[in-house]
Each structure stands twice: as structure tokens, then as C-alpha cells.
């Protein structure tokens, strides 16, 4: 009987404004059979620091966050805050 614990990024989504949402699945396995699974979700906004982010997610961020996407995201945030009267 051997128990193993693995954590993998099993889902990555990129939204219209370049926000990257990803899910990490942690599985406890016994002899190849899954005993339990838990999820941890995170989201990253354009230009956010990627320290500690899994490599597969970094690659998506670096591809998705073009200068146009970054500008569009900043403009959207500013417009959103202006709309809220902030």
C-alpha cells in the first residue's frame, strides 16, 4: 500500500480582459486509486506579480498579457472606478 499526494493545475481560464483564473487539484492516491481530491482556485490580473505561480499558468499569463490587453484592463478598471464615483 502506497499513498501519494499530487497537486496539478487542472483548469486555466482567460477572461475577456486577460484575467487568468486557474484551479489546482490536490489528490491523495492509494495504489492508483483516488482517496480524496481538493481544489484551490486563484485569479491573476494583468501585470500582477507572478512569483510563486505554477509555470504552466505563468506561460499562459505571459502569452495572454499583451500590451493591448494590459492597456484594456487598466482602462476598464479606471472606467469602473469612475462609474462607481471613486
Amino acid at each position: 500500500m502506497s499513498l501519494t499526494k499530487t497537486t496539478v493545475v487542472d483548469q486555466i481560464t482567460v477572461t475577456e480582459y486577460g484575467v487568468v483564473l486557474y484551479r489546482e487539484a490536490t489528490r491523495i492516491m492509494e495504489d492508483g486509486n483516488e482517496l480524496s481530491k481538493t481544489y484551490h482556485r486563484s485569479s491573476l490580473t494583468p501585470e500582477q506579480d507572478l512569483t510563486g505561480v505554477p509555470d504552466s499558468v505563468k506561460a499562459i499569463c505571459n502569452t495572454a498579457w499583451t500590451d493591448e490587453v494590459k492597456s484594456a484592463y487598466r482602462a476598464m478598471i479606471e472606467a469602473n472606478q469612475a462609474k462607481l464615483g471613486a
Binding site: 477572461t15 480582459y17 484575467v19 483564473l21 481544489y39 484551490h40 494583468p46 469602473n80 472606478q81 471613486a86
Partner: protein, 290 residues
Amino acid sequence: MAVPYVFANATSAIPLSNLDNNFSTPITIGNVAIQLGNTATTLGNVTMANVTITSVSSPITVTQGGTGNSSAFTANAVVYAPTTSTLATGSALTFNGTNLSTTGTMQVGTTLGVGAATPSASGSGITFPATQSASSNVNTLDDYETGTWTPTLVPGGTGFTSITYDADTQAKYVKIGKNVFVQGSIRTLAIVIGSPTGILTVGNFPFTMSTSSQGGNGTSAYSSLSIAYASSWGGSNVPAGLLTVSGSTIGYLTTRATSNGDFAYASSSNVATGAYQNTLYFAGCYISAN
């Protein structure tokens, strides 16, 4: 020597030389004459009891040969009706090769998997696919997921130079269909403020908010981030939060203005920079995009 047609009555061995002559007359099983040798024969009106079929190497088929349900068969109250290709027990349960339906109740012993989901081996319930298969039908529940996420405290524009969190900074989520419930806590250990801009927010929400959520007008949406407890802030405390769409989901923190009771948006001037400061216990609910 005459060979008896009823084999059980034979009292002595039957010479092979006599078989050809005697078996030139077909025997009858049910109402069908059986031809010997290699001639294919169809049986009819035959009732068999305690029959065991072994070493079946290919599917057993039932082919409709007459009209109506002439080739229907019944086993343990399960009726196969070839004209409608349905399998039924009594009048309640039917199976047409694709859909299993009942006019009564249905019980599953432990778990039921939908879509590509393998039914969970633990507990009793419905197992949804790990990746949602969204339905456009307004009466269809198409997703369920629970998990954790790590809330962050970030200015809406330029961020802090650095921020570190206490281990109590953690949160959970439950997604039922499009409804996302979140609850969690934030507490900071140290903040180097720098030159931040924008409204102070809670970030890193697990799902994107729908632009058509309640309070929305089609291009934006608003929901509530309830602050159950807030303490050890640097400026005015933050008694409430506003969830809205911002590329995904963002929670704008607010303070209460003293002049007329209106809420005002919090900023970096509201945070404290010391250890174990800026405590928030919160909960919220919003409608996700999927």
C-alpha cells in the same frame, strides 16, 4: 426393429442403420417440425424452464418477425417491447436505448454521476463533471464544486510595494450552478505601502461574476461582500464591501462616511502597516458567468 419416437421409451440401443429410415419423419417440438442434420429450424410456442445458456460468445438477439409486439419478451416483470424499443417494468420504468425514465420515483443506492463524471465512491449524492458542462436550460442544475481560495488585499490601481499575510488569510467557496458562496478571513503581517492608487479591494475571487447578476444593467453587476468583523485598521474601519465585475470579480471595500451615513470607498490610507493588522472576516454571494 422399430425405433420409438419417444426416446425415453427406448429399451435397447438403436442401431445407426435404422436411424436414417426412422428419422426421415421430422420430430416436433412445440408446433414446429424439427429437421435433423444441418437444416436451420425455427422453434415456436416453446416454453423452457430452468434454462442455462453458457459460453455465449456473441450477443443474443431478439428480432421482430411478426406484427405488433409479437417478439416482446418478459423476464422478472421486465418487458421488452420491440415496436417502441422500450424496456419497461410494469408501467413506471421505461428505457428506450437512450433515456431511462419513470412515472414514479427513482432511487440510487449511493451516488449518481452525470456527464462524464465517475460517480464518487464516498457518501451518497450526485457527482458532476470536474469541468462544468454548462447548460443553457434555465431549469437544469449543471455544476457543483467546493474548494479553497486565498483572498488578497490590493489597491485597484498601482499596488503596494509589498504585503505579507498571516496564516489566517484563507477562504472557502461553494459553487452551486451559477451561485457562488464565499467566506474567509484576511489579516496582514506587514505592508510596505509605496505609492498605491485606486480603491482598496479584496481580490483573487475564484469565479468570474456574471454581468447580468442582480443589481446589474447588462454591462456591470453588483453584489454584497458582507464584513462580519473588521479590526486593527489604520484609518477608518471597513464595514462593508461591494462585489462587482472587473474582468473577473473584485470586492471594493468601503468605509462609512460620518457626515450623512453614506458609504465611501476605502483606499490605501485605511490600512495599518504593523503585524496582525487589517483583520477582516467576510462572506458573500454572487452569480458567476458560467
